[in-house]
Symmetry: C2
DNA sequence: TCTAATAGACAATCAGGTTGACGATCTCAC
DNA sequence: GTGAGATCGTCAACCTGATTGTCTATTAGA
């Protein structure tokens, strides 16, 4: 039997660890030349396939309306993280592609997150860390790849 | 050395596990007679001290403006989860107290979350689960008791 | 008793999302 | 071919949940 008081603590542990991880990621991204990149941008960047993606497809992947995704993509374009081009095969559509800067941001994110994970693994022990990963995988189970939170937490 | 690809997965594991846990909590709370209780309400309820709290104090605890907290408390009053009374010692202030229904919701939350944690611990093994807890505690470190997310994820 | 600070309500505003409607374009059955 | 219907991305209107600024009532303290 685990301590029943853990019940109330556990969600806070999860969200707190998430928050701290993402805060550290963006602090280091900012220091590495990406001060304007917000978490929501990083999520959108990850929804872009290597061959380029349509806005509608990205919206569906992330779980927001295409209008919302269009706005985010517009901002990413402004910031130089993506390029847009009309799809030669379908002139209604745009193909959104990562720019070199976008690729840089994404690969740096990977490096930073890997380093952060490694740092935490060093502190608690690698096998402990991997145990935590497998526990989280079990809890998360077959959830969606991207979580959509709009209006989820609140709602009057 | 842990697999560098874990870096990108880890935040999604955390947020996915959190989301799943809270979703299950509120599904069971709804089935137990609390269908209108949202996560944001549960957070506010937890910010009420046993002897009663002022709105301003709750706002500070949770990390939102007092106006926002006043609205949430108003809703909780509507729903019958709290009672408000003028503070006899300071007639500007209100004392917000949990109603019996509020106490029921909070104690049920505890029971449900403990059961969910126990269920996951049963699946992965109690010692594995406790290892995960200590890893999360290490990552979360000395973060605030309540995480405040408004405007954190997005921001143009 | 006068002044500064505080509790909470009201109003205006903002941000980030939503839905609905639209023009342009594509697909497909005929 | 061509006409009907679906789909892509934009524009506009709106909703929600937060924010800041302002206000009154009240309290605390010199």
């Amino acid at each position: 039997m685990i301590d029943p008081r853990l019940g109330h603590e556990f969600p806070f542990l999860l969200v707190g660890a998430f928050r701290r991880l993402i805060d550290e990621l963006h602090r280091e991204l900012a220091a590495a030349g990406h001060p304007d990149l917000r978490p929501v941008h990083a999520v959108a960047l990850q929804a872009i396939e290597v061959s380029g993606s349509r806005i509608t497809a990205m919206a569906q992947t992330v779980g927001v309306s295409k209008q919302a995704m269009a706005k985010t993509v517009g901002r990413l374009d402004e910031l130089g993280y993506v390029n847009r081009a009309v799809d030669s095969a379908d002139r209604r559509a745009q193909i959104v592609r990562l720019s070199p800067r976008g690729r840089d941001a994404l690969s740096r994110s990977g490096v930073i997150l890997a380093a952060l994970s490694q740092r935490h693994a060093d502190v608690v022990g690698e096998d402990q860390f991997m145990t935590a990963v497998s526990v989280l995988r079990a809890i998360r189970a077959d959830g969606p790849a991207f979580e959509h939170f709009e209006g989820w937490f609140g709602g009057r």
